[in-house]
Structure formats: structure tokens, C-alpha cells
């Protein structure tokens, strides 16, 4: 009895301070952000309550609208591109190749490098190297193509990580499944479509959700490559909140933007999980 109490007390003494720490630096700022979203706070000085005006303005603000359009376009295209290429890479790196561990090690390098510095390096490639080869203007200076440059840089780094997850997925598929499939005459694409892919579906789910979430929060690459330009065509939601909220005197307004962004991320993650889980059960 005495030792039961001792155990309970120890657990409470562990949990309560940690919960308080988490509450103080995660929940408190979340609530404060929510409160600021109903004010016209500029980040300094006094402010007034404006009710839901920030939220109403959000839906009519073209700059905010553009940032959502850009971020979704980028996240969707990058997520699809990354997952297709990662799957191909994982299949290749998991086949009977020579120098297997060397190749796997090399292809993982992009993932350990800082996104900002990688962004600067690619910025140079887009600005000087590619135009020198193609004799065309830099992609980064084009309102039509700058977003694609950012997709490429995001993909370059994320493919490494997603490939690794797919490889560990492929390794969970037992060899005799393939042998049985071979007896039934399933080879090549059919084998992938009907045997391999269904079996690694849980890994596909993880990759899609993680990748989409990361891409929706894109920031470092924007900071290094375009700073939102040209003509605000590559302003991601995170970048806009940072830029206008911290330095542009829109603390209150961008707080409202951040609240909506938070809801969007939660809804997309839940939808993705539910949709992909359903598919998993069917197979």
C-alpha cells in the first residue's frame, strides 16, 4: 500500500512539471495567438478589439488568397512528385544492386543538410548555371516558373527521407510473397500494383501525411530562394505570417491568418489519414 502511494506520487511529480512546461510554451501562446486574432494589434503600442473583422478581411485579401493558392499548389505538386520519385528510388535501392549501402548512404545526404544553405546553393544554380546552359532567363525571376524552382529544391531534400521510409517498408515484405506471386505469373508492373504496393500502403500513408504537412509549412526555401518574389508570386503562408506579422505591423491580422492556417493543417491531416486508412482496410 505504501509503495503504491510512493509510485503514484513519483509519477505525479514527474508529469505535472512537464505538463506545466508544455502548457506554458505551447498552449499559452496558442491561446494568445487566438486572442490577438480578434484585435488590430500591430506588434507594439495599444490595440483595440475588432471582433471578427480580421477573419472577414482574410477572405477578401488578395495577398493572403495568393499565398494560399501558391502554398497549396506547391504542397500538392511537391508531395506527388516526391512520393513517385521516392517509390522508384526505393524500389531501385532495394533491388539486387552492387554497392547497396554506399548508394543508400549517398542518396540520404540531402536530408541532413540545412534547408537554408541548400536553398542558397540552388539559388546560384538557378540564377547562373542553368541560364548559362539554356540561355534562358532565370526561373527565379519568372512569375510563372519561380514556384517550380521551389518545388525542385523541396523535392531534392525530401526525396532522401521518403525513400528511406519506403525502403524500410519494402523490407517488411517477405521474400516468399514474391516467390508465390512469381508462380502466379505476376511480374513487373503487375507485381508492384497488386502485391508490393498494397503491402507497403501504411508507409505510403505516413509519407503522404508527413510530406504534405512539411510542404504546407515551407519557409526556409522561400527565405533562401525568392523571399516571396517575384511580385509576391512565391509567398508561402508561413512566410507571409512571418514577414507581415513580425515586421509589417499586421500582428493581429496575421494571427487570424495563423489560426485559419492551423485549422487547415489539422483538417488536411485528418482527412488524409481517414482517406488513406480506408484504402488500407480495403486491400
Amino acid at each position: 500500500m505504501k509503495s503504491q502511494n510512493e509510485r503514484k506520487r513519483t509519477f505525479l511529480l514527474i508529469a505535472i512539471p512537464i505538463l506545466l512546461l508544455f502548457f506554458a510554451f505551447n498552449t499559452v501562446p496558442l491561446i494568445r495567438g487566438f486572442i490577438y486574432s480578434f484585435t488590430n494589434f500591430r506588434g507594439y503600442g495599444s490595440f483595440d478589439w475588432v471582433g471578427l473583422r480580421n477573419y472577414v478581411d482574410l477572405f477578401t485579401d488578395t495577398r493572403v488568397g495568393n499565398s494560399y493558392w501558391f502554398t497549396f499548389k506547391l504542397a500538392l505538386v511537391a508531395t506527388i512528385l516526391i512520393n513517385i520519385l521516392s517509390l522508384i528510388m526505393a524500389l531501385a535501392l532495394n533491388s539486387k544492386i552492387r554497392f547497396k549501402s554506399f548508394l543508400r548512404g549517398m542518396y540520404f545526404i540531402p536530408n541532413i543538410l540545412g534547408a537554408l544553405v541548400v536553398g542558397y546553393i540552388f539559388s546560384y544554380i538557378f540564377t547562373y548555371i542553368l541560364p548559362a546552359i539554356t540561355h534562358a532567363a532565370s526561373m527565379l525571376a519568372s512569375r510563372t516558373w519561380a514556384w517550380l524552382a521551389i518545388v525542385i529544391v523541396c523535392a531534392w531534400q525530401s526525396i532522401a527521407m521518403n525513400t528511406l521510409i519506403y525502403i524500410s517498408g519494402l523490407q517488411t515484405v517477405p521474400e516468399d510473397v514474391y516467390e508465390a506471386a512469381a508462380l502466379d505469373g505476376a511480374t513487373g508492373w503487375n507485381r508492384f500494383r497488386y502485391i508490393t504496393f498494397p503491402l507497403i500502403m501504411p508507409f505510403f500513408t505516413i509519407n503522404m501525411v508527413l510530406c504534405m504537412k512539411n510542404n504546407l509549412m515551407v519557409f526556409d526555401q522561400i527565405m533562401a530562394l525568392t523571399k516571396g518574389g517575384p511580385a509576391q508570386s512565391t509567398e508561402s503562408i508561413s512566410y507571409l505570417i512571418y514577414n507581415n506579422g513580425m515586421n509589417g505591423g499586421q500582428f493581429g491580422f496575421q494571427s487570424a491568418n495563423a489560426v485559419i492556417f492551423f485549422i487547415v493543417i489539422v483538417v488536411i491531416s485528418i482527412l488524409q489519414l481517414r482517406f488513406l486508412n480506408k484504402k488500407e482496410e480495403q486491400l
Binding site: L19, N111, V117, A132, S255, F262
Partner: protein, 283 residues
């Protein structure tokens, strides 16, 4: 074992091996370019591709010396190292304790079940919504410095790490602790003597994931420590970008210096890093 050797010798998939080796170009080209430009002098930079990518006339370290001076390299490196190391140690201690408290009580106590979901749901909160309130909060508490950044990291990585630790602890039988209890050891002692050492594989995963994230992070130190003159390695690249001007050789020497510590670390601990990342993503 012998059987396996025969199988391996039997046939390698050479076409895929060769394609993968050629594909390494996409990973290595940006790194090659970084090294080459970092060693060159501005006068060697012509506008054609060959001029940009050929070897430098002499391999001099002048650019690196200058870049170190301009960006105060050693201090930034030290700050990055300090932040990453302390965050890592605190994460392992605090998050494993919380994971322990949660995992051992979740089944019988609503309080711990709630605590678990409360902390893990923090994973969906984007930094963008916390950013602006946290700037105010850290300034009010006078922790708008490295100490504050470390506290924030410990809070931000808590959801993922508690999830990992709690999942891992489910596989460690409670009977071990009960035996120690019978011998009169307190819960606290039992944890440090028996449970904590048993969790080494998870500690390694948590250490790798937390370290990779904090070492390369730009956004948190950028908003929390801005104006304090204290730089981390990535932050120094951002803050000195204007000082490099059009001297790309100096800039690339600095980028290379910023990438090197992680590259060297990866070279040494490649296996641990890759295993850590897989463990974290798949669990």
C-alpha cells in the same frame, strides 16, 4: 551464410546499379559546385558554364579564412553546438520520463490518458501560429536568448518524442519494475537503474531526430533571438547574406563551412543516423 554468398554472387542487377550511380550526379553536383566555387577567386568567375565549374587555379584557403572572420564562424558553431547538445540531453531526460509516466498509467488513469493525447496533439500546431505570441512571451520573461530557444525546442519536440518513448515502453514488461519494487527500490531509482538503460535504442533515435531538427532550424532562433546579435550556424548565413554582396566565392566558402560539421558527423555516424531516422518515422 555461405548460401547467401552464393546467392549474392549469382547476379547483380547491373543496369539498375549503373543508373543509380549516374543518378548520384543530382546529389553530388550541388556539393561539387559548392566546393569549386568556394576555392575560386572572383576573377576566375566567368559567365560560361565551363568557367563557372572548372577547377580553381590554386587551392587556397583564403576564402575560408575570410568567411570565418566575416561570419564569426567559431562563435556561431559553438552556439549551434551548445543549443543542439543541451536540447538533446534535456529531450532525452524529460521526454523519456514523461513517456514513462504516461505509458505506465495510461490504461488505468484518465489523467494520464488525457495528458498523452494533449501532448501528442501538439504535433499539429504549426510554428507559424505560436511564433508571434512566443516572441512577446520570451521577451516578457527575458528569455529571448539561447536559453529560451532551448526551452522552446524541448517543448516543440515533446509530442513526437513522448509518442516514441511511450510506444517503446509498451514492449518493456512491467514485471521488471515490480521485481525491483519487491527489493525495496523506489520508483525513481528503478527508473534510472533499470528502465532508462533499457531504452538506449530509443534514446539514440530521439537524439538523432532532435539533433537534426535543431541543428538545421532557422525559424526559431530567427524570431526569438533577432536583434540580440547571437547567431547559430544557419542564422549566420542568413544574417551575413548582404555582407557577402556579389562575392559568391566568399559566400560559398561560408556555405561549405556551414555544411561541413553535419557532413563530417554523417560520415562518422551514418549507420546510427539512418537507423534513428527509420525508427522514428516507422514507429
Amino acid at each position: 551464410m555461405a548460401n547467401q554468398n552464393i546467392l549474392v554472387k549469382e547476379k547483380f542487377n547491373w543496369p539498375v546499379t549503373i543508373l543509380l550511380l549516374l543518378g548520384l550526379f543530382t546529389v553530388l553536383f550541388p556539393l561539387y559546385m559548392t566546393v569549386i566555387i568556394a576555392f575560386k577567386q572572383p576573377s576566375e568567375m566567368t559567365n560560361d558554364v565551363i568557367g563557372l565549374l572548372s577547377f580553381p587555379k590554386s587551392w587556397s584557403f583564403d576564402n575560408f579564412r575570410e568567411a570565418m572572420r566575416v561570419t564569426d564562424f567559431w562563435r556561431s558553431l559553438f552556439n549551434s553546438f551548445l543549443i543542439t547538445a543541451i536540447t538533446m540531453i534535456f529531450s532525452i531526460i524529460i521526454h523519456s520520463l514523461m513517456g514513462y509516466a504516461v505509458a505506465r498509467n495510461m490504461n488505468r488513469s484518465k489523467f494520464y490518458r488525457f495528458s498523452y493525447f494533449y501532448i501528442v496533439s501538439g504535433m499539429f500546431v504549426p510554428f507559424a501560429i505560436l511564433m508571434m505570441p512566443l516572441v512577446k512571451q520570451t521577451a516578457q520573461l527575458h528569455i529571448d536568448n539561447m536559453f529560451g530557444v532551448i526551452i522552446l525546442y524541448v517543448v516543440f519536440y515533446m509530442p513526437m518524442n513522448v509518442l516514441l518513448y511511450a510506444g517503446y515502453l509498451k514492449n518493456i514488461p512491467i514485471a521488471l519494475e515490480e521485481a525491483a519494487h519487491v527489493d525495496g527500490a523506489s520508483t525513481w531509482t528503478t527508473y534510472w537503474k533499470i528502465i532508462f538503460p533499457l531504452m538506449w535504442p530509443m534514446h539514440a533515435t530521439v537524439a538523432v531526430l532532435t539533433a537534426l531538427g535543431t541543428w538545421n532550424d532557422v525559424m526559431t532562433p530567427l524570431v526569438i533571438m533577432s536583434g540580440s546579435g547571437v547567431n547559430t550556424l544557419p542564422l549566420a548565413q542568413l544574417n551575413f547574406q548582404t555582407q557577402f554582396g556579389t562575392n559568391y566565392n566568399l559566400a560559398f566558402a561560408s556555405y561549405l563551412l556551414a555544411l561541413l560539421p553535419m557532413l563530417i558527423f554523417y560520415l562518422i555516424a551514418q549507420k546510427q543516423i539512418i537507423n534513428g531516422v527509420i525508427n522514428g518515422a516507422v514507429k
